[in-house]
């Protein structure tokens, strides 16, 4: 990956809360090239969605603030841009799909109008031309009878159709980067599979870079090229999907893979006890000096509680922030 399309470098986001300052993102670095899918995984509260919001320039300010770091789209710095410039980038260069298609669509406008809106705003198209493009977009997201559906209101569509409309809105101006924040969480398995197929197809046609935020390691395995695992606002492991999934180094990544009962074509007759990650994600206001995962980690050593481990490259070229992994590699 020589020229990342989008690069997030050492981004720090702080929130002022009544309980004190919370470091929501702690020196997060990510990059995605065009035509690639980057997966971000982690539990709720690990900073996945906040990473997306900081890329979109949508960190709620106040109480939040991008304290330091840089986010570059094709070399252009996004941090610190004024509202008007950011507004031109959002929807045009960077599109976003949210988790809940019902609450993200406006119930009082037809879906055609909602797709046409971004085309009119960003490309100065006439209302008529914008609506024609909207119908084309509905067709490209495989909605049957697009002319008729464009006149439908969100409540008249099923959950899967609404998510297709969200994708159509996000892709209407052919963005270079698409951020999909848990795009299928609210959908059934067979519909989820259709949406994933659609994302892959559109990506190979348009060369869009996709950032896929999910908690499903299966979706990462089948869709993403690269993966970043986040915990308590930090990236704790990242690399090629094949490497990270087949040889995870961080105990949190290992836990995320083994604590979920995966569907097996040949299930064992004797059931095993599932691996557990004990405890919960810590409150960001209560992080100590050590590794944030240490209180839940079965492998921790003394060092883990005294200093935060940095991301370090392993021989198979993926990065892990873990003292134990570092010690084992040094041996």
């Amino acid at each position: 990956m020589t020229h990342p399309l989008l690069s997030v470098e050492e981004v720090v986001v702080d929130f002022e809360t009544r309980a004190g300052k919370a470091r929501v993102l702690d020196h997060v670095s990510l990059e995605v090239a065009s035509g690639e899918i980057l997966g971000i995984v982690g539990e709720s509260g690990c900073g996945k969605s906040m990473t997306a919001l900081s890329i979109m320039g949508l960190v709620p300010d106040p109480p939040g603030k991008v304290t330091s770091g840089s986010i570059k789209l094709e070399g252009r710095e996004l941090v610190g841009l004024d509202h008007e410039s950011l507004r031109r980038i959002r929807g045009k260069d960077i599109g976003m799909i949210f988790q809940e298609p019902m609450t993200s669509l406006n119930p009082v406008f037809t879906v055609g109008e909602q797709i046409a809106e971004s085309i009119r705003l960003h490309e100065n198209a006439s209302p008529k031309a914008a609506m024609a493009r909207a119908v084309e977009m509905l067709r490209s997201v495989e909605i049957p009878e697009p002319e008729m559906r464009a006149k439908a209101y969100p409540h008249q569509l099923s959950g899967g159709m609404r998510q297709r409309v969200m994708i159509a809105i996000a892709l209407a101006c052919r963005p270079r980067v698409l951020i999909a924040d848990e795009p299928t969480t609210a959908l059934d398995a067979t519909v989820q599979a259709q949406i994933f197929d659609l994302l892959q197809d559109l990506q190979s046609e348009m060369g869009t870079a996709i950032i896929l935020i999910t908690h499903d390691m299966g979706a990462i395995a089948e869709l993403a090229d690269n993966v970043a695992v986040m915990y308590a606002g930090r990236v704790v492991e990242k690399g090629r999907v094949e490497t990270v999934l087949s040889a995870p180094e961080h105990p949190y990544t290992k836990g995320l893979i083994t604590c979920v009962p995966h569907l097996e074509p040949d299930p064992p007759i004797e059931r095993e006890v599932l691996m557990e990650i004990p405890g919960v994600v810590p409150a960001l206001t209560e992080l100590g000096v050590g590794c944030a995962f240490a209180p839940r980690c079965a492998e921790k050593i003394a060092q883990c509680e005294s200093a935060k481990p940095a991301l370090r490259a392993s021989p198979d070229a993926h990065l892990t922030a873990c003292w134990v992994a570092e010690q084992e590699a040094g041996r």
């Binding site: 959950g159 994933f196 499903d216 979706a219 089948e222 604590c259 979920v260 299930p267 007759i269």
Partner: protein, 326 residues
């Protein structure tokens, strides 16, 4: 008492739950066939899973067994208790034997009550034991589900999602039921927390001999926790088998498509393109097709499929399939 009910904790026969119907000012109201002729039995101490997509009727089946929706037709019995026929005070008293754990631990606990009171409430309502005995029972339940007894004085918002689901389990266990209906008990929880609750449920079953009816859309979870699994589509069971057979030898085209739709950590980008995909959404449960309900989305459907409704037949060893073509 028939021979079947002695070793079956739960027996459901030809259960139907229809909503709507009748007429209103604006003409006849449509009937929604939410559950349409479902039969199964669950041996005591076992876990029976129902999987299916939204609108398949799995939750309505669970609610009908809990007597939380009106049963249109059919029989539901728990051991010797004809749950489906009880009314009024008899039904209320019988509720000791069957309890439910809901999907969303955030909305199913009263935010104004302390945790201890929430867990004690069923004991109060059923007037079990003295006040001191109830308090002791609550403390014991807290330990049983992995909470500290001193946490009884906290309010629900002071617990994490996983802990709240532990409270939901403690509340369900308080009346020492035989059957616990679990409606998507881990779907609202973070992935790392799901394992904690699933392991807890398995341990409680071993220790207390509980029977579970487990409703979920997550096939991985169902495969892990259930002994026998039924796949529902549009109000009917289309396939039913034990957990090993269903996953290594699925017969119904819908089951196959459902299994193929789930991404797994063993998969990769290349294989996912070579799988069969279902098109579209399920038809509406209001205007049901005459033949097989899956025919409109089925990749192998023939003309006769849309004319004749296939019966759910035993294909050997209790593996039941409703399909004309397999």
């Amino acid at each position: 008492m028939s021979a079947g009910s002695r070793n079956s904790a739960l027996v459901v026969e030809d259960l139907k739950v229809h909503f709507g119907g009748g007429s209103s000012l604006f003409g006849p109201k449509p009937t929604v066939h939410a559950v349409d002729g479902v039969s199964f039995s669950v041996p005591a101490g076992k876990t029976f899973g129902i999987v299916g997509e939204s609108g398949s009727g799995k939750t309505t089946t669970a609610l009908a067994i809990m007597r939380l929706v009106h049963i249109t037709a059919g029989r539901v019995a728990l051991g010797d208790t004809p749950i489906g026929e009880l009314e009024g005070e008899d039904l209320r008293a019988a509720r000791r034997q069957f309890q439910i754990v809901f999907q969303d631990p955030y909305s199913s606990l009263d935010p104004r009550k302390r945790a201890g009171e929430i867990v004690r409430e069923p004991l109060d309502l059923m007037q079990i034991g003295t006040r001191a005995e109830r308090e002791a029972k609550v403390a014991e339940l807290f330990e049983q589900v992995g909470l500290r007894p001193e946490q009884r004085v906290l309010f629900p918002h002071q617990f994490s999602g996983g802990q709240r689901q532990r409270l939901g389990l403690a509340r369900a266990l308080s009346t020492e039921p035989d059957l616990i209906v679990c409606d998507e008990p881990v779907s609202a929880l973070d992935v790392a927390i799901q394992a904690q609750i699933l392991n807890l449920m398995a341990r409680l079953q071993r220790e207390l001999g509980l029977t579970y009816l487990f409703i979920s859309h997550d096939l991985g979870v169902v495969q892990h926790i259930c002994d026998e699994i039924a796949v529902m589509y549009l109000g009917q069971i289309v396939e039913q088998a034990d957990r090993v057979t269903l996953f290594n030898n699925p017969q119904h085209p819908y089951t196959k498509a459902l299994l193929a739709a789930v991404p797994t950590v063993h998969g990769n980008k290349r294989d996912r393109r070579n799988r069969t995909r279902l098109k579209g959404d399920p038809p509406s449960p209001v205007n049901l097709p005459t033949g097989c309900r899956f025919a409109s989305r089925c990749p192998i459907a023939e003309v006769r499929c849309s004319k004749v409704a296939p019966p759910l037949e035993d294909r050997g060893d209790g593996h039941k399939v409703s399909c004309l073509l397999v």
